[in-house]
């Protein structure tokens, strides 16, 4: 207990606002109307004797009727011809892939219910991101198109085929262009199919455009090295990482894969070997990466290039003009320290920048060449094909269309009417195209302009493949029969190109001839593993081509163009990303890792800057971009946001996506622009108050821990000295007395170890937990009432750094003001039921609905609970949730999960709870029981790793380790022997079964 550092979850907690204090005292967000009933009018109200008798009579009648011995008739309908591989009650796993990443799909009785990582895969072999987890819910979306449409009227596929072929023939005959507009298409078979299609219709061309473009990196690599690709970054080889606004463990390129790489240099295993990488982040808005950085320096958008130039100068010894000056002294100082670090770690470092500007990325290339990183930590030879979108291609498509040269245009997995910045230009262009066909699975914003809708399958219904990395080919295989009358776009293109082949045969033939040929593997072998990897190509070093001075000046002038008014940074939120999954209720309800806001986007602004503009929390701001586009959004005071900047998330504000996602937040894409042929997500804006106010559904202080000491951290330097530093494990612990007998767990003892140094806070564990445990979505209003049902949450704590001095005593907080509030460090702490051996909840339950098991678990019997909520009141960790509604059977929740179709996503091994009962993390008891049963059936002892938690299996950083503490060789027993381990609130002696490892920061030493 040697930490006196003050952690806080939100500004209201820091400032102890009256509302916060009030809220933390009361159990419910809204006072219950008990007084109305018990006092005044409630008591004065008379109940006439006749009414009383009527109600009594009805009550007795109803009860006796309900007690009648009528056995409910349940139908039980077996298969007529059972598929051999299906055994009702046992899940099947299929190797498939999502966005080029190999995954396993868990199905029950022929319906996919969970996505897990493929442990044999390349790129990412453990964990998946929140979007991948949630993608299974998109399959069960009732807002999808149920039939193809022509001119807005439902029709059959035969008519669609006739109409499309006629349009294609006409375009062909009149020499008009045919365009297939798609988001990045890295499916080798689909590309070969398009080549076949092009042979039939020679004017066909594929145009790739991504909602959030990385064309700047591709173009910069073309200019610098002659290779127009996105490199494969290797953060697992980097000891020093400097990132300028690149949220590389969040949404930048391949965030989840980079998380795994990055954390492998920082988790407890790496620390035990005395190794830890260092991440220095310069950025304006607080990103997930910034929150995990060892040093984070807030800079304005317009300061990105000066920082990079300063870094270049310091590393190469050149003196390019435009380096960051003393107006941001802190950045200047850190650049000097960072460059020293980088030079020491030559070939073992990475510098990345989030800006999509060609000149900026060229400058970054020059720095990395000077650091000899190519061939080591940056691999241009094993290129990534995850994002190939080319903004100039799309611009020229629009120009061609406007000129009337395009006869037919197909839109595949792209929605320019929503995410293209210039809606008028788009509308003008689309108007001139004779036949427009969309493959969209729903009537989205772009569908309004379409003549024919030919809805595509979900990836869980189709055959397909992907090629996300050089030599890495992944397969997509269907896991359910198509639900609606849809057809996968490949099949449609195949038919329209005059072939009668089935796409499955086409795909298989392509794989057998091109990908599997010579490998000795059969198609079936490959389906089992889900991918084919040709092996890594030797990475080479590259030298830089280009005039650094002119590049720097170009970058500088780009940068300076933002140095006016309020600088606006647009970013992708961790949950919604580019907005393609805009109707996914699970993602909308996933709290943002930093702001903990659900169901909205907002204008993030620093508290000090807001104060100077007279803006307070809950204000609604009118933001007018430099191109005149205006949105009205609520404000969010974000500690750590750079002064003079605001951040707004794209991906929100969809108008035609479905019941759950329509008009959630505002669309920020129109603020973007194209500079040097690449999309730029920066702008400048004027902001003004509208006078309205709006309360965001923010979860951050819902489960306050009342300022108790729950987070422990240390610095890497101190850790090397003393691994137990900061963990509170030193000194004599005071003698404790137990009211209860020791709880014996003679057989198994299930425990969790959570590595705070590995947890990035991304929240994919929360989505996995929701899906595994049938946790309902409650919607914005209910979240505002503090009624979110998530069994686990990731608490985000802020703390201050003042003058490099990490420790801030509580009494010093009062003296802080202004810009001091911007320099915050963040700790993410996953918090779920701690399964205390001496659980305070168990002793207060009047009906013994929550009791302890001999395996160390805190059981919750829903059918026994009658909802006193005493347990929730007595839980020091605030991890129990109360069901206010029958969320799965209540028309108020129709927009989310309550409908017959969407309920197919439910895990049949877990009860869906009813109204009026408590629920909480069960430590995936269904998985424990299933794992034990499997061992029993095979008559063998349970092995470590046989059972994994849903949260743990979704974590790419391996931050959540589950296992049997009674097995001395289990990973968790070894992890819990680590000196860093502490138990949250162990001083109250509830003996929790979840151990945490101190957060270690590799802080910069001046």
């Amino acid at each position: 207990m040697d930490s006196n550092k003050k952690y806080w979850k939100g500004l209201e907690e820091l400032q102890q606002t009256p509302a916060f204090v009030e809220n933390s005292k009361s159990e419910f967000a809204e006072p219950l109307p008990i007084e109305n009933v018990l006092e005044g009018p409630g008591l004065e109200k008379k109940t006439p004797r006749r009414d009383f008798l009527k109600k009594l009579g009805f009550g007795i009648g109803a009860v006796s009727l309900a007690a009648c011995q009528n056995t409910p008739v349940h139908k039980s309908i077996p298969y007529l011809i059972k598929p051999e591989e299906v055994t009702p009650g046992i899940p099947n796993y299929y190797a498939s892939s999502y966005n080029g990443q190999s995954v396993l799909v868990k199905t029950r009785e022929g319906r996919p219910i969970l996505i897990e990582a493929n442990p044999a895969a390349k790129l990412l072999n453990c964990g998946t991101d929140a979007a991948t987890q949630a993608s299974v819910l998109d399959l069960y979306d009732t807002n999808k198109l149920k039939d193809p449409k022509i001119g807005g009227r439902e029709t059959g596929w035969a008519k669609v085929d006739k109409a499309v072929i006629a349009a294609l023939d006409e375009a062909n005959a009149s020499g008009k262009q045919i365009r297939i507009v798609s988001s990045t298409l890295n499916s080798p078979t689909a590309l070969s199919l398009i080549a076949q299609f092009t042979a039939k219709y020679p004017t066909t061309k594929l145009v790739e455009i991504d909602s959030v473009s990385y064309a700047g990196i591709i173009k910069a690599n073309q200019n610098s090295f002659g290779k127009a690709v996105i490199p494969h970054y290797r953060f697992d080889k980097a000891e020093v990482i400097v990132s300028v606004s690149a949220d590389f463990i969040g949404t930048w390129l391949s965030g989840e894969e980079y998380t795994q790489q990055f954390i492998s240099k920082r988790d407890y295993k790496s620390l035990e070997n005395g190794k830890m990488s260092r991440l220095i982040q310069f950025e304006s808005g607080m990103s997930l990466t910034g929150s995990n950085a060892d040093a984070r320096i807030p800079i304005k958008v317009s300061e990105e290039v000066p920082v990079l130039i300063a870094l270049y100068n310091a590393i190469t010894g050149n003196n390019v003009a435009g380096a960051i000056g003393s107006d941001n002294a802190k950045a200047q100082k850190v650049v000097a320290l960072a460059s020293k670090e980088l030079l020491q770690a030559k070939g073992k470092s990475v510098v990345v920048a989030g800006s999509n500007n060609v000149a900026v990325q060229s400058l970054v290339n020059a720095i990395n060449v000077a650091l000899e990183n190519y061939g080591n930590t940056i691999d241009l030879d094993n290129a990534s094909y995850q994002y190939k979108g080319n903004d100039t291609d799309f611009e020229s498509f629009l120009n061609e269309a406007k000129a009337g040269n395009v006869g037919v245009a197909f839109f595949l997995n792209t929605n320019p009417a929503y995410d293209y910045y210039d809606s008028k230009k788009l509308a003008d262009a689309l108007e001139k195209i004779k036949t427009k066909i969309s493959f969209s699975d729903r009537e989205d914003e772009t569908s309004v302009y379409m003549d024919i809708l030919a809805p595509n399958h979900s990836y869980l219904e189709s055959w397909g493949d992907g090629n996300a990395l050089t030599g890495y080919y992944t397969i997509v295989q269907p896991t359910i029969n198509p639900v609606y009358n849809t057809r996968q776009y490949e099949q449609s293109l195949l038919i329209w190109s005059g072939s009668e082949q089935d796409y499955y045969d086409y795909l298989r033939a392509y794989w057998e001839q091109n990908i599997l040929a010579g490998t000795g593997r059969s198609w079936d072998d490959m389906l089992q593993t889900g991918f084919e990897y040709k092996g890594e190509v030797a990475a080479q070093a590259y030298s830089f081509n280009g005039d650094i001075n002119s590049i720097a000046q170009q970058a500088l002038s780009f940068s300076k163009s933002f140095a006016k008014d309020v600088e606006v940074q647009l970013y992708q939120s961790i949950a919604l990303r580019d907005g393609k999954q805009g109707n996914n209720a699970l993602l909308h309800e996933l709290p943002d890792p930093i702001s903990k806001v659900t169901w909205d986007n907002y204008v993030a602004i620093s508290p000090a800057y807001a104060k100077s503009l007279g803006i307070v929390e809950n204000d609604v701001l009118k933001v007018t971009g430099e191109n005149g586009y205006t949105v009205e959004l609520p404000v969010l005071l974000q500690p750590g946001q750079a002064q003079g900047t605001v951040s707004i998330a794209v991906g929100y504000g969809r108008s035609k996506v479905g019941k759950a996602g329509n008009n959630i937040g505002k669309n920020a894409y129109p603020f973007a622009k194209i500079v040097d042929g690449a999309q730029v997500l920066y702008t400048t804006a004027k902001i003004e108050k509208t006078g309205d106010s709006y309360i965001l559904a923010q979860t951050q202080t819902h489960h306050t821990i009342e300022g108790r000491n729950v987070v422990r951290e240390t610095s890497f330097k101190d850790y090397l000295h003393d691994p137990a530093h900061g963990s509170g494990n030193h000194g004599t612990k005071h003698k404790t007395y137990d009211l209860w007998n020791k709880y014996e767990s003679p057989g198994h003892k299930w425990v969790l170890a959570i590595d705070l140094n590995a947890c990035t806070g991304c929240g994919s564990c929360i989505v996995a937990c929701n899906l595994e445990n049938n946790i309902p979505v409650v919607g914005r209003d209910e979240v505002r009432r503090r009624r979110e049902m998530h069994w686990m949450r990731v608490d985000r704590y802020y703390s201050f750094n003042v003058e490099g001095n990490e420790v801030t005593k509580e009494k010093e907080l009062a003296s802080l003001s202004g810009e001091d509030l911007d320099d915050v460090s963040v700790v993410h702490q996953p918090m779920m039921c701690q399964h205390c051996d001496h659980a305070p909840c168990e002793t207060v339950c009047p009906v013994l609905a929550t009791v302890h098991s001999n395996e160390g678990l805190n059981h919750m019997a829903y059918n026994r609970c009658f909802g006193t909520r005493y347990c929730a009141n007595n839980c020091p960790y605030k991890v129990r949730r109360f069901n206010w509604f029958n969320y799965w059977n209540d028309s108020r929740f129709d927009n989310y999960l309550n409908n017959e179709f969407t309920q197919l996503v439910l895990n049949p091994d877990v009860t869906s709870r009813t109204r009026g009962v408590m629920e909480k993390c069960s430590m995936c008891i269904q998985r424990i029981q299933a794992g034990k049963l499997k061992a029993k059936m095979e008559k063998r002892p349970l092995k470590d790793g046989d059972i994994v938690m849903a949260c743990g299996s979704a974590c790419s950083a391996n931050a959540i380790i589950f296992g049997d503490l009674n097995d001395p060789n289990s990973e968790v027993s070894k992890a819990l022997k680590n000196e860093r381990v502490y138990y949250v609130l162990e001083e109250i002696n509830v003996q929790p079964n979840v151990g945490y490892m101190t957060k270690v920061r590799n802080t910069l030493e001046a």
């Binding site: 349940h74 139908k75 077996p78 009650g89 026994r864 029981q929 034990k932 049963l933 029993k936």
Partner: protein, 419 residues
């Protein structure tokens, strides 16, 4: 003396022998027919019926047509007999489109004789279908017995009270008579009306008290029992879409449970067999011998469900909608494989004498008390199962010598079934 005793013994011995032989002879023919019936159903019914031609000819009167010696040879290996050039055999083989009969070398002569005895027996019986015995549950309800007993006790008690009352009244009258000489002699012959009697009885406080007490006890216990049984559907026997008889399939034909309910051994669901499993046998077994050569209407339902035209499944398939008999509440998790494969329990443990049920009914109450009692008493089947080694060692350390029941390994904890 010795001789006498020896003589006596031998007499007794021979008497017993004679009696025993007599008994065996008496039962032998009946047993033959019974054994023959079960063998016939196992081995022959896929091709033969008694009264009608199927794949093979109708077997009625086969004993008259052929000699027993010839039949024994034919059944064991018909092709060998044909090859040997036996006239009858060749004629039979040619007469049936040269369809070879499956050889049964594993049948003993006695077994074949039993089958023939059965054929003989069945051939004599009229071709009507056997009347099925009522499969209704003989619900041996102890508490029902108790209730009846209680009622009898109450009636006796009432009679006793009535008798005692009469005695008291007579005695009282005698006392009154002694004190006052006879009063109202004239009214007596009229006799009291029924209403008067009730009125008089109702004035007897003890009787009223006793009656009320009995009424309260009766209603209370009946109510108590009704409330306990809310949601308990023991004996539930819904009408199923197909009159499938477990008695026939599992009882008489001895089909292993897991042949159809394969899920019970590996999954939480025992699973109702899909119709294609039925078709493994019912492609051939049509029970037409019982329906004058027509396919049994119940088996026809399987064909209709699968749209079976005798060769292939058709496109117009309609699933069979069975009515679920054993309904557990949603919040209770039950896994068949844990109980069947791991614990090695017989299906009958919970489902009762399923092999005798013509129509299945819910045998066990399926209440939590019923589960828990079994978990308390049943020893864990941990022998030769390495999973349990550590648990058993831990258990022995704490409570050496105690029975290792499911309960002692945590089988009564809420979370074992409720999650």
């Amino acid at each position: 003396m010795r001789n006498i005793s020896l003589l006596f013994r031998s007499v007794v011995k021979s008497l017993m022998l004679i009696m025993a032989t007599g008994l065996t002879i008496g039962t032998a023919s009946a047993q033959d027919v019974k054994e023959g019936e079960s063998l016939f159903k196992q081995k022959c019914t896929s091709c033969h019926a008694i009264n009608s031609d199927m794949v093979g000819p109708a077997l009625k009167g086969v004993n008259d047509r052929y000699s027993e010696e010839w039949l024994l040879k034919w059944i064991k290996n018909s092709q060998a007999l044909v090859a040997s050039g036996d006239e009858q055999a060749v004629a039979l083989f040619e007469g049936h489109n040269r369809v070879a009969m499956t050889p049964f070398p594993d049948l003993s002569d006695d077994q074949i004789r039993s089958i023939l005895a059965y054929i003989d027996d069945a051939g004599q019986a009229p071709a009507a279908s056997a009347t099925a015995e009522g499969g209704a549950a003989n619900n041996n309800d102890v508490s029902g017995f108790m209730l009846v007993g209680l009622g009898i006790v109450i009636v006796i008690a009432l009679l006793v009270i009535f008798a005692l009352n009469r005695v008291i009244r007579t005695l009282e009258r005698i006392i009154v008579n002694k004190e006052i000489e006879i009063v109202d002699e004239e009214e007596e012959p009229k006799g009291p009306t029924l209403m008067d009697k009730v009125k008089v009885l109702s004035k007897n406080k003890r009787l009223v008290f006793f009656a009320v007490l009995m009424l309260v006890v009766f209603l209370g216990s009946a109510g108590w029992k009704t409330l306990w049984d809310v949601g308990v559907h023991q004996g539930y026997q819904p009408v199923q879409p197909i009159k499938f008889s477990h008695q026939l399939h599992a009882g008489i034909n001895q089909i292993e449970c897991q042949y159809c309910h394969s899920g019970a051994f590996k999954s939480k669901n025992a699973s109702i067999p899909s119709a294609n499993v039925c078709m493994n046998c019912h492609k051939y077994v049509t029970a037409s011998d019982k329906y004058n050569g027509e396919t049994s209407p119940e088996i026809q339902k399987i064909y209709d469900a699968l749209d079976w035209d005798g060769q292939n499944y058709g496109p117009d398939q309609r699933p069979i909608q069975w009515i679920r008999i054993h309904n557990l509440p949603d919040f209770a998790y039950f896994n068949h494989s844990q109980h069947v494969s791991v614990a090695g329990l017989e299906c009958q443990n919970c489902h009762g004498p399923i092999e005798t049920m013509d129509e299945v009914y819910q045998f066990s109450p399926l209440t939590m008390k019923w589960c828990v009692n079994c978990h308390r008493e049943t020893e864990v089947n941990h022998k030769d199962n390495a999973y349990y080694d550590k648990l058993v060692a831990a258990h022995d350390k704490l409570k050496e010598g105690d029975k290792i029941t499911a309960a002692s390994l945590g089988g009564l904890e809420c979370g074992k079934c409720h999650y």
